[in-house]
Chain length 266, copies 3
């Protein structure tokens, strides 16, 4: 790994229409042109730290070991909240505001140390509304060119942790939360099939307000007819309620945060 | 070319809001951090293999020789359809589902061999709904770091080919299909001006349902007044029906798949 | 800097749904696979050269020194307008149509020379509607691999300059223009707080058609209650009218080009 190009993964709620992400990359590359940057997503809903936490936790394991994760959803930018660096045993580092949403991802990789970013070690700045560019990008750039977190802040004993909602299991039934709706309209829950003992090919009841749906739990979308509802394990590793070649979110009128009850049949 | 960084071009229908493309890149870069990745587009309409085929065929020649093309529009993911690697005489390689939409692009570069991906040579996986990440990205990563297609699957004699619609020429008139509508509202057809013998500066009739339009065939948009309809050859290499500084698709209410008749005048 | 990878920043109005940006990158990387490409933005409103000029001028200083800036908003593509290369004293180079919108950014970095692109030194082309790919990308690729601007065109004494609107200051009051609305609905003006002598924590009147707003000028969004209007200096370096955790553009019904009057209180 010696001499390997550093990998930087960026997640924000900035979108791609504004030049914000480009400016952040400009600052990072000013320190280290050898870095490889992965845009994890910039379409987190504005200020939605829960969505950011879920995307990060699911995605971090797929990034190359020792990735530097720059994570900025930051409605409190410029106020008292501190900036943090989380080191992990896999070698990955997470950089962003200490508001908790990075913690679930970092803890999956094993947090080994936390550092509070010391802004006095960074270039002075004129504005307080864009720390992604004026604070965190400098930190990431310096980490990418080989500096240690300890040169960018002081070690701290604790950091903020956001807890993601867990499903409530009651016998053969579970109340799950819709964590994400993807481009295809798949309704991604926080329930794993093993938690309910679901077996491939079996049927389940799905209850949403005003409607009860009977559908099969299958290996992939194409195992039911086009237009049919189904349950499957999506790329997120969780059960998702989907329509083969269709859009379940539109058909059912559901969105992130909505709940549904899934019951095993037979 | 020895030692040159491998170029990987990615086309999907995943969009950029979800972390799917980022996860795919994470897996690829885990094998080869030296790869250069081009996002050809991730905004293919969900499941629209025809649109993917057209974009790929037009774009592939502009990619650097020996590009690895990762192409995933895959409504049948996890079912019986196999994964394929198409080798070409230019040195490019196409990786994706064997459903035909990569073939027109690969055949322009000259297909020299096809390999059926042998998933037993790849890491085991838990889910069957995200082969872009769990199958194809591993294949692309290993090709990028120098492995041969033959180490990833067995050579096969045939592969699936999708045929793109061709215009129907009748004397001085042609029935063309709208293959794509771009951000500017340009209506990109499948007709080349030479097929109709159109000469720059001449006029043509364009018939669409309920409307007959007389417009000039010009070298570029700015050769007619702002707001005027025109025919020109766009970046796709085909005739497109456009409005100078305006949006032809909105003005005419046309969309991909619609047909129009173009007739030479005089 | 010898041997460092060249950085290329790209700004267009092409969007990301079409394969246009991907094709441009393919051509550039055909010349120089070692280039690092930053997508500044591709979501300039179609044909909006003023928006492009503002984004470029604000963003260019954040790019690494010696960046090659490819800038294409080009409604007159294929007509008489020439292509230009602007060299700057910081080492950056700007490449695009000579229509003026690159000039404000280049002049901030100090224009040292201008070259008219000589298309006879580039590969012949079939179409005249996509100079970003068929002209400018070739120029950028050759600059990236080390050629001098003088090998791509002849030096010229003048180039086109677009002037950005300036605010009109009258005592304790200023008429400002909304230059940009970002993803969060922040209304970015062309007024700097020092031009009005505004002090942090003080109040101001903001007049828009049909409405007078009293709000505080604060260090960042979070210094007022959620849902409250505020003035702050955004990442653009200018005053912006914003709503903490809300969308000012939607609430006030304002858009780029609209004007507002900001008056100091007390």
């Amino acid at each position: 790994m010696a001499g390997a190009r550093p990998v930087i993964s960026i997640l924000t709620d900035f979108g791609l229409a504004d030049p914000y992400v480009g400016q952040v990359k400009g600052v990072i590359l000013s320190y280290c042109r050898d870095a490889v940057i992965i845009d994890l997503t910039h379409e987190v809903m504005p200020f939605n730290e829960l969505q950011a936490a879920f995307i990060l936790r699911v995605s971090a394991p797929y990034m190359p070991p020792a990735t530097i994760h720059l994570c900025v959803v930051d409605p409190g930018v410029g106020t008292g909240r501190r900036g943090i660096i989380l080191e992990t045993t896999r070698g990955d580092v997470f950089v962003g505001p200490d508001t908790g949403f990075m913690a679930p991802a970092a803890e999956i990789l094993g947090v080994s140390a936390a550092y509070e970013i010391d802004e006095s070690r960074l270039p002075p700045r004129d504005v307080e509304t864009f720390h992604a560019r004026d604070v965190f990008a400098h930190v990431v750039g310096r980490l990418a060119r080989g500096e240690k977190p300890s040169s960018l802040g002081k070690r701290v004993e604790s950091y903020t942790v956001m807890r993601l909602p867990e499903p409530i299991i009651e016998g053969d039934s579970a109340e799950a939360t819709i964590m994400h709706v993807d481009r295809f309209g798949n309704l991604v829950t926080n329930l794993r099939p093993a938690q309910l003992g679901l077996e491939l090919g079996s049927e389940a009841f799905v209850s949403i307000p005003g409607r009860e749906i009977r559908c099969r739990y299958v290996k992939s979308y194409g195992f039911v007819e086009a237009g049919q509802l189904l349950l499957t394990v999506g790329g997120w590793g969780y059960l998702e309620l989907s329509v083969n070649r269709g859009n379940a979110a539109e058909i059912l009128g559901l969105k992130p945060g909505d709940r549904l009850r899934i019951s095993k049949l037979g």
